[in-house]
Symmetry: C2
Subunit: 397 residues, 2 copies
């Protein structure tokens, strides 16, 4: 009998996927399921990206440079300059999705057993990357009543041990939709300087900030040249989830140099994806405006609508395209399973992601669920109606 | 002062890349460099792969299934059936290059500190993957005088400790060009059963076996359902290095299940690459025949030609498109640097990969270099001439 490794046996399944078999069973029974549970937008990829692929002439699909195609890295530096982040293309390493940027950064900056503090609820796949790197995520809880604002710095201080090496924030936040302010980020800057920590920021939702709030990048904090690492991806910016193109960006040359060695081991990021991503840099203002307006309308609609349902509360997100709802149920997970397994409204139901999986603290967020407003308005309207009817039935069960 | 992690600071640069600055400097001086040092073939990708990308209609470049597009997995199972490997598509997980198949397998089967025995010289990037997984590679030396045949099983036995969890072979071999026979693989089977080890095989050069020798897959060894894991890639098969599509294949369902959890954390393998790889399944016999004949001609030419150079010896490789030469020099690395830095023949020179980087045992392979016959015959002819002239000059230095 051959056993898996501990990290193979213990690797957690994504909590979002736990419900997939129920959704599949519902579909088999002929139920239509509205997927508010995942971050796969229905938004169109810029046409220019597909055209670039179609028009690219080559005889051999060769490896690219391990840090990415130079013209793309230069173009990307231009994109950052445009959004107010002044970096050189040599500070950029193109990665296979944002995921790889995270893994490579964990590998180059953290030893096995080291700790990273992350505000919870947080993006669940950080757990998988932590398992892969053998590091420990230490959660600092943010609360729905505060709209998931940055927890007080004193709460971070309490968690710092000799093993603490970094703080990681996702900004704008998945799953909460919270946008950390410049002031909050400055508090984090002071904290990481005081304790000599790295500050990692996952800024893949940069384009999606609402109500006049401006995104402030971790790379624009003074005095963090050595500390700050930015994880980025084109997945959400251009609705290009499948092409697997991200970036690892830091002014700390030692990090980029070491990450590149990991990059050389895996040879190169995907060629076709880089071609599409480079072309997407030309997508232009109209593309973003259209996408932005669409998300804004969806956000405004769905957050207002769910807050009108008896017992439901969702803080208005300032960014990304997610929101956390608190529900008038004891266990949101049980409710989400029930929605798929035992309920339908006129042959339709809704799939949400139970929020508990986004918390590391046992029991936290038990009555909460995450929704992604990645569907068109009419589908969101229908989803809200279904949710409302479902809660009526569930209450009287 | 913020320090990198130990694994960041110690991550080895690929030994092949160590010479890149010298090659770049030579090019700047106007010297033409023939690259026999890397495995980037000049062979054309099947036209059908590019056509599939150009003809694919989509609005949104979405994530694919984390285990890969189902139709591609099914098609790939058909490919394996065709080459005599009877597996189900559910035993296949599509990965981002062969690299990811190796990482995921290490993660799911090995704990940090565990040992994997690999015949040396071996593909240097295994060192990077081992560093990432925190495992230890234990080399068992194969020798140029034996044509790099499998070392005696007694040599493996001597290296087995309580930490030993697996044996890894690359077959056909990069960097040696050796093709392990069915009998050698059966010896490995008996060994891994006796000691309850996993047996990993990197078979990405499967298509390139010469002189009537047939490739025997680790998946066709009896009694290894639980033990055997196959790493594969389309990079060399279809000359699609840049698309980053590989596969992790095992009949051990626990491995596939656990690897899929790592796959879910990184969401999906590259979409465009999968489309190209799936289309390539239709490339047909003529494509392979043409490519095969080209490599065969190159091998026959270059191995015979280098063996005619005074003091040079290269065993005739039975597979892949690499060969190891022993050179009449004390240090092949010094010689390779000199070739780039201090020598040219009529304005041209040759770049080889010093073989020392492929050995883990200090000092082993010091007078050896690897060449990849990935250039067209006329370039190979020119390269041999340059090498011959260079050795004359070097000897009299």
């Amino acid at each position: 009998m051959l056993n898996l490794s501990e990290r193979g046996a213990k690797m957690p399944a994504s909590p979002i996927r736990k419900l997939v078999p129920y959704a599949e069973a519902a579909k088999k029974r002929g139920i239509k399921v509205y997927h508010l549970n995942i971050g796969q937008p229905d938004i169109k990829t810029p046409e220019i990206a597909f055209e670039a692929i179609k028009n690219f002439e080559m005889k051999t699909a060769e490896y690219t440079h391990s840090a990415g195609i130079e013209s793309y890295r230069k173009g990307l530096a231009g994109y950052y300059k445009n959004v107010g982040i002044d970096i050189n293309y040599e500070d950029i390493m193109i990665t296979t999705g944002g995921s790889e940027a995270i893994i490579f950064t964990f590998m180059t900056t953290l030893n096995p057993g080291d700790e990273v503090i992350i505000p919870e609820p947080y993006y669940t796949n950080y757990n998988g990357f932590a398992m892969q790197a053998g590091i420990k995520i230490v959660p600092v809880t943010s609360y729905i009543e505060d709209g998931f604002a940055l927890p007080p710095i004193a709460d971070f201080e309490k968690l710092i041990t000799p093993k603490t090496k970094a703080v990681l924030v996702c900004n704008p936040n998945n799953p909460t939709g919270y946008l950390y302010s410049k002031e909050e980020l400055q508090q984090l800057r002071d904290l990481v300087i005081k304790h000599n920590l790295f500050l990692f920021a996952d800024e893949v939702y940069r384009e999606f900030c609402y109500d006049g709030h401006e995104h402030f990048s971790v790379l624009n904090l003074d005095g963090l040249e050595e500390h700050a690492v930015l994880f980025d991806s084109v997945s959400k910016r251009y609705s290009e989830c499948g092409i697997r193109i991200g970036a690892l960006i830091s002014r700390n040359k030692k990090i980029i140099e070491a990450a590149l060695k990991y990059g050389q081991a895996r040879l190169s990021p995907p060629l076709f994806g880089q071609i599409a991503a480079e072309a997407s840099l030309q997508a232009g203002e109209e593309y973003f405006k259209e996408v932005y307006d669409e998300y804004l309308e969806r956000r405004n609609y769905i957050i207002n609508a769910v807050n009108k349902i008896d017992g439901v509360f969702a803080p208005m997100p300032k960014g990304s395209f997610y929101a956390i709802l608190s529900l008038p149920v004891e266990s949101a997970e049980d409710f989400c399973v029930w929605l798929l397994n035992d309920f339908n409204y006129e042959g339709e139901t809704v799939m949400l992601a139970p929020a508990q999986g986004f918390y590391a603290t046992p029991g936290a967020g038990k009555n909460q669920a995450r929704l992604a407003y990645v569907l068109k308005i009419e589908d969101l309207k229908r989803s809200v109606k279904i949710l409302e009817e479902a809660l009526k039935v569930y209450k009287n069960k």
